[in-house]
C-alpha cells in the first residue's frame, strides 16, 4: 500500500515539477530577453526559439536595414539588433564545447546592458563577455578561447533553466573582432555576413498593442516574422500541452490502478486482522472506532509512502535535471522553495486521498461486520 502511495505521490510531484519547471523556465527566458517582440527572418522561428531555449547554436540572417524600418514604425519605443553565432565544436581553437553566442549592440541594447550596469557597473568592453549560469572559464586558464580569440568572462547571469544558461553574450565589436582575426587564429573562420543581423528585439511604447505592431512589421518589412512576447515559445507550449494531456491520462490510469491495488491489498491486510478487530469490538470498540483506526492506518501508510516517493522523485529530478531537460527537449528550472513546498503538499494530499478512498470500502465492510463473524476462521 505504501508502494502505491509512493508511486502516486512520486508521479504527481514529477508531473507538477516538470510542467511547472518548464513553464517557469519559459517565463524567465521571456523576461531575460526583455523584449515585447522579437523579429526573426521568416521561417526561422522554431530555430531561434530552440536556440534560445535549448542553447542549440543556430545562425540565421536578415538584412541590417530591417532594423531602421522596424525602429521607424510608430509605437516602437526601442529596437536593437542581435547576432546569433556559434563556437566550433571540439576544435582546439575553442576551449568550450559547441556554444550559442549572442552578440548585441551596446548603443541600442535594452536587454543586457541594464543588467550589466546593475551587476558590474558598466557595459562590456572589447574582448569581454557575460555567460549563462553554466558558462565558466576552463580549469587552469584565465580566459575562454573562441576561434583562437581570448574572451574574458566578466559575470554570469542567474539561471533560467533554458539554453541561455549555456550561452555567452558579447558585444558586436567583440564578435566582429573575433570574425576578423579568426581566419588566422582558428581552424575555421567565424563568418558574419556583411550588413546582416540575426534578429531585432523590439520594446513597445506603453499602451501599444503588440499584435497591431506585429501586423505593421509584417506589412512594412518583408521576409521577417515577428514573435510577440505572449506567443514566444508557442511551439514549445503547444508541445507541452500535448505532453500534459498524455501525462494526465497516464496519471489517471495510475490513480485508478493504484486505487484498485490499494483496495485489494488493504482488504487482504484487514481480513488477516479480522479476528483482532472482532476482539476489539467485543471489548467495546464501536464500528466507527474500527473504521477510523483502519483509515488512520491507511493514512499513515499513505503519508509514509507518499513522503518517500516525493523525496525520491525530487532528488532524482534535482540531480538529473539537465539530463531530463536534454532528453525531453524542454527547458527546466526548479521552482523556488515556497512553490516546491506547495507542490509537495499537493502530491501528499493526492496520495492521501487516493489511499484513503481506496481503503474506505474494505475498511467499512470489515468495521460493519458482526464481531462474531469477524472472529470466525
Amino acid at each position: 500500500m505504501a508502494i502505491c502511495a509512493f508511486l502516486v505521490a512520486g508521479f504527481a510531484i514529477a508531473i507538477m515539477l516538470i510542467l511547472r519547471g518548464t513553464e517557469n523556465s519559459l517565463r524567465l527566458a521571456n523576461d531575460r530577453l526583455g523584449a515585447d517582440i522579437i523579429v526573426v527572418p521568416e521561417g526561422t522561428t522554431t530555430k531561434v526559439e530552440t536556440a534560445l531555449l535549448m542553447g542549440n547554436p543556430t545562425e540565421v540572417w536578415m538584412p541590417e536595414s530591417n532594423l531602421a524600418k522596424i525602429a521607424a514604425i510608430p509605437g516602437v519605443a526601442a529596437a536593437t539588433p542581435q547576432l546569433y553565432l556559434s563556437t566550433l565544436n571540439n576544435a582546439s581553437c575553442c576551449s568550450v564545447a559547441s556554444m550559442f553566442l549572442v552578440a548585441y549592440d551596446p548603443e541600442t541594447d535594452f536587454a543586457i546592458e541594464p543588467w550589466l550596469e546593475s551587476t558590474i557597473g558598466r557595459g562590456l568592453s572589447l574582448g569581454e563577455a557575460v555567460g549563462g549560469t553554466y558558462v565558466f572559464v576552463p580549469e587552469g586558464e584565465q580566459n575562454i578561447k573562441i576561434y583562437g580569440y581570448f574572451v574574458t568572462l566578466k559575470a554570469n547571469i542567474e539561471p533560467t533553466g533554458t539554453g541561455l544558461d549555456q550561452s555567452m553574450f558579447l558585444t558586436f565589436e567583440t564578435a566582429k573582432d573575433i570574425a576578423r582575426l579568426s581566419p588566422e587564429l582558428a581552424l575555421q573562420p567565424l563568418i558574419i555576413p556583411e550588413d546582416s543581423i540575426s534578429s531585432v528585439l523590439v520594446r513597445l511604447a506603453p499602451g501599444v498593442d503588440p499584435m497591431s505592431i506585429s501586423a505593421e512589421i509584417i506589412r512594412q518589412v518583408p521576409g521577417v516574422t515577428p514573435i510577440t512576447s505572449p506567443n514566444m515559445f508557442q511551439a514549445y507550449r503547444q508541445q507541452m500541452n500535448g505532453l500534459l494531456a498524455s501525462i494526465l491520462l497516464v496519471l489517471g490510469i495510475t490513480l485508478v490502478l493504484s486505487g484498485l491495488m490499494i483496495g485489494l491489498v488493504f482488504s487482504m491486510a484487514a481480513n488477516e486482522r479480522r479476528r483482532e478487530l472482532g476482539v476489539l469490538r467485543a471489548m467495546g470498540a464501536t464500528r466507527n472506532f474500527v473504521l477510523r483506526s483502519l483509515l488512520l492506518e491507511a493514512s499513515i501508510l499513505a503519508l509514509e509512502g507518499g513522503l518517500a516517493g516525493i523525496t525520491f522523485t525530487v532528488l532524482v529530478i534535482f540531480l538529473f535535471r539537465n539530463l531530463i531537460m536534454r532528453s525531453f527537449g524542454f527547458p527546466f528550472l526548479l521552482p523556488d522553495p515556497g512553490l516546491l513546498l506547495i507542490e509537495i503538499s499537493v502530491g501528499l494530499l493526492l496520495a492521501l486521498v487516493c489511499v484513503t478512498l481506496a481503503a474506505m470500502i474494505p475498511a467499512y465492510r470489515i468495521s460493519h461486520m458482526e464481531p462474531a463473524l469477524a472472529m470466525r476462521e
Binding site: R281, G284, A372
Partner: protein, 223 residues
C-alpha cells in the same frame, strides 16, 4: 439477568444451504450463576454464547440483558454495554502481539469513560497479581506460555469489573494441570465477586466447577 426467548441463529451458506446453529432456544441465566454449557463441536454452544454477548444478531427471537433487548440499542450503546458489563475470554489467542501483558490488560479502558481509564492502571496491576503474573507485566504475549496468556486474558476480561463473564472454551488449548489452574481461578473469581459466568466447553469433566450446567446438541439445549 439474561433471557433468551425462542432464539434461533441460521447461517446461510448459499440460497439453498443453511446451517441452523441455534434453534428456538429459550434460556434464563440468573445473576450470580456460574453456568457451564457443554456440547460437541458444532453443537451451537459458541453461537449461543455470541448471541448472549450481542456479538451476533439472532435470526429470530429475543436476547434480553437485564430486560433490555441488545439489538434495539444503537452501535454506540451496544459497545458501551459490552465494555462496561461484559468480559470476554476467547478460545483462540486474543492478546495483541505488539502490546505487553499490562497494555493488553488495559486495552478495554481505551473504550471506557474517563474515571474508569484513570483507575485502569492500578486495577490492571492488582489483577495481574491475582492471576499470578505480576512479574510479567512487561512481557509480550510471545514470551508467555499458553496458560500465562490465558491468565492475562482473564485479567483483561475482569478489568472493567463486568457483571457478566463469558468464556468460550478457555482451556481447550491447555494441558490438564493448567486447565485445572484456570478453572480454579474462575471458581475463585466467582466466589470472590459473585459475578455471573457463562462458560462454554466440550469437556463434561468441567461441569463440577459451575453452579449449573446445560448440554447442547444440534443447536438445541438437551436438558
Amino acid at each position: 439477568m439474561i433471557q433468551l426467548d425462542k432464539v434461533s441463529k441460521t447461517y446461510w451458506m448459499s440460497k439453498e444451504n443453511a446451517i441452523h446453529a441455534v434453534l428456538e432456544t429459550t434460556l434464563e441465566i440468573n445473576r450470580g450463576e456460574f453456568l457451564i454449557i457443554t456440547g460437541r463441536s458444532g453443537s451451537g454452544k459458541t453461537t449461543l454464547l455470541n448471541l448472549i454477548a450481542g456479538l451476533t444478531r439472532p435470526s429470530s427471537g429475543r436476547v434480553l440483558l437485564e430486560g433490555q433487548n441488545m439489538w434495539s440499542l444503537t452501535d454506540l450503546q451496544q459497545s458501551q454495554l459490552r465494555n462496561r458489563k461484559i468480559g470476554f475470554i476467547f478460545q483462540f489467542p486474543s492478546l495483541l502481539p505488539s502490546l505487553t501483558a499490562l497494555e493488553n490488560v488495559l486495552l478495554p479502558t481505551i473504550f471506557s469513560i474517563d474515571h474508569v481509564k484513570e483507575a485502569g492502571n492500578p486495577r490492571a496491576r492488582e489483577l495481574m497479581e491475582k492471576v499470578g503474573l505480576i512479574d510479567k507485566l512487561n512481557a509480550y504475549p510471545r514470551q508467555l506460555s499458553a496458560g500465562q496468556q490465558q491468565r492475562v486474558v482473564v485479567a483483561r476480561a475482569l478489568l472493567n469489573q463486568p457483571e457478566l463473564l463469558l468464556a468460550d472454551e478457555p482451556t481447550s488449548d491447555l494441558d490438564e494441570q493448567t486447565e485445572t489452574e484456570i478453572m480454579e481461578m474462575f471458581r475463585q473469581v466467582h466466589l470472590d465477586s459473585g459475578i455471573t459466568i457463562v462458560l462454554v466447553t466440550h469437556s463434561t469433566q468441567l461441569v463440577s466447577y459451575g453452579t449449573r450446567s446445560i448440554h447442547m446438541a444440534g443447536g438445541l439445549i438437551e436438558n
